[in-house]
Symmetry: D2
Subunit: 143 residues, 4 copies
């Protein structure tokens, strides 16, 4: 894989589980998003604007995930998030979650589009050069 | 009680429970907030601005809750949210949640302050007259 | 459509939005799950067991969603959840979310497998007859 | 302070913010709970039972929080969670959140009661000796 990849060590919070005794599946999207936050954090550029809006606005147009093995409360695991495709305006990120013993927990992808928010509307716009360069780097950034 | 009050029928979602088999306690704050949304919804005024910011910005400075009886997944219950105090800039809302058999589930309060967001900062500001008038009415608004 | 379908009127809660001013995408999975809860609620059978576990254990093995139009805080919308396929042990549910003006907000699907929890393990098991019959009915159940 | 205390470095996830551009206040309870998970993690004792239930069942009977300064998406901060009181069956934990520049973000407390779950009911029970001893230690455990 030639693009940026990030490994994030997480621990299952109690509120992220459900009454079946395992992680609620919607929680994975919150984790995927945390992985993307690590990928798009460019040194020297604040992640949020003064009004709280994210600096890089990357709404999701499609998401998919498969679940292989459940996680219990307080379990530690690793989430590996990798830039798979960089288009003119779009970005595809792939995710894999592994238990600490190496068991595959889940995989997933997000298809995102870079936008500028103009008067409340999300207008598709080419990825900024600084973000494109950052996402294209091979190594892991400092999380 | 002389100020506005709202009753909201809710149902426990699976993702709102936790591995102990009951509602995760943090979920109650999301419900309290839904009750407040009903209280501050003024006919003819959109709840959100074009950029997605809420029309009435009412950050919470203090919250408290007591829990009496657990709720299971898919249980229906009622949340009664009542304006308790209306200050110059502040608002106190009290909440009570009841199971359908009348069992008290939880009580709570929120102390909120009306703000304007100026260049990203939250600046305390008197409650708008239209909101003050709405909150002061005795009846229930149409949820 | 030959299987059960449910329409659920929802309203975007403040905590379900994010700093971009729209609904956080992970929230859709919580809503999809609420739709499924309506589908699997069989008259006369409690949704939860005494220990809080769901009566019908249907973990998700795959999920996918596409997002077409953003939702703002306090917006009302409809979620239509439809049983698409009923296998021996598996269930596919398809979801469509519409704004009140008919704008398509999102679509999605969940592939679920019926399980029995044995000593903490999720063991695949044929769908119970009562659930199969319920899911196969054409009409909407009482939400 | 003579009892156990834990410091947890966290980072605000996108899904934890709301349309006002800051952290949704209910998120703090999820963080408080993560702090408690660190406090009650006893070396050599798994945090979850085979059926996914937590090993130490400590439902909350009261919670309170005050909010001083907002957090933006992707901001790092520290949560300090401290055992304040250890009763026969009860536990009081106090929380303080600080931005990395030392600004106080929020404070809070939780009053919890140790329970055994018997046939789905939460029965108050003295804190297990091993947990009491662990909570009474002065130092930080390895998070």
């Amino acid at each position: 894989m030639s693009f940026r990849s990030e490994r994030l060590r997480l621990r299952v919070r109690f509120g992220e589980t459900d009454a079946a005794g395992i992680v609620f599946y919607g929680t994975f999207l919150a984790w995927f998003d945390a992985g993307v936050s690590n990928l798009i954090r460019v040194p020297g550029i604040p992640s949020a604007q003064k009004d709280g809006k994210p600096t890089f606005v990357l709404p999701i147009v499609e998401v998919g995930a498969k679940f292989y093995s459940p996680l219990r409360v307080d379990a530690e695991f690793d989430l590996v998030s990798t830039v798979a495709t960089i288009g003119t305006t779009s970005l595809r990120v792939e995710h894999e979650a592994f238990a600490l013993d190496g068991t595959r927990v889940a995989t997933g992808f997000e298809q995102r589009v870079h936008c500028r928010i103009v008067d409340g509307d999300f207008i598709k716009e080419p990825l900024p050069d600084v973000l494109r360069a950052h996402l294209s780097e091979r190594g892991e950034s400092t999380a």
